[in-house]
Amino acid sequence: MPDGPGLELIMAELNRVRPEAVVDATYDREQAALVVDPDAILEVLAWLRDTPGQEYTFLSSLHAADYLPAEPRFAVHYELLNRDRYERLRVKALLADPASPSSSTTSPLPEIDSCIELFPTADFQEREAYDFFGIVFRGHPDLRRMFMPEDYGGHPQRRDFPIGGEPVIFTRDEVENPGWWQ
């Protein structure tokens, strides 16, 4: 785990390699996180993987998040791990919702580059993020739904997706719904 100053060094080095790649760096409860520009995500991940002294060679998890009503709304989290030093580093890429009225793009779904060339394990995890959050990974060779049926409509882990199910009336609701069992 890089400590706070170490994280600042990583951020400064990354911004020297590619200007304005890292938007922010947070160090909270002994967890280090970089917030990066989504257009630079591949360069940042490649630099963290290949640079001597960094060598975060293992992508232990890739997942998406929906921060509605925050703006930008979506995020893709990359949990990197260096197995020699046992250090973890989180990389976040915040994605705006193209469907929101303030957006300028025409694509209906948020897009980010696929990191499958850097980390082959990202294959299924990117498919899962696409399935549940509708985040399109550019360059993914086989971006299909992972868990839901192929003909399913919508992306069910989004916060504005209806929770589903059916209303169940219990005995305690007898006062409001007399004779509900009939």
Binding site: F147, M148, P149, Y152, P156, F161, P162, I163, G164, G165, E166, V168
Partner: protein, 236 residues
Amino acid sequence: MEIERQKLRVHSSLEQPGSPEELRARQLKARDMLRGDLEGADLDAYVEERVMTTTLEKILNVARANSIFPATFGLACCAIEMMSTVSPRYDIARFGAEAFRASPRQADLIILSGRVSVKMAPVVRRIYDQMLEPKWAISMGACSSSGGMFANYAVVQGADKFMPVDVHVPGCPPRPEALMYGFNKLQRKIMGNPDPGWRTRYNATGTEEWARGGSGSKPSEEALDAYRKAREVLDA
């Protein structure tokens, strides 16, 4: 041994050739032996107590109900309880249903033991369709009966939305005793009213195995005629 047998034959009165009078006497004696002590109304009552007449349809249903072959099919945690129902401690073999078949073609009962996800529902439906008729289904537990605790986008809210279910067993999960009680209910249903008319309810007339399979699998004219007559009797 041969000599002994010879002796017995000589002493048996039946073996002796005799006159017509002797034959008549033996006939009367045999009739007395067969008749017993009862006559008339007493004899009728005696027979009624001991002999039962029934129809082939009913005795067939009794045989079906007591020799059910469930499909080896588990969906979730309820399947653990289903397995222990088969174990010697609870022993569903007492009711003749211990042989779980590994193929739906050989099974006539499917126990939906767990939540049915949206993606699993077509699979379950296909397995049910592959079973030969007559076939029955038990929905085991809260999840497969109503969705249970999974009131969300991924789980079907009640298995009878996509297939006919004969018995719903409540519980989360139901104990093996509860499953066996539901199974006994199903047996009673099979013996009493084997056709609950689910084809009519689900608008599924014409989906019988022989009706779907093309010309090669059509029943003979006699079989169709017998089927229609049976339907008339059952509907009346």
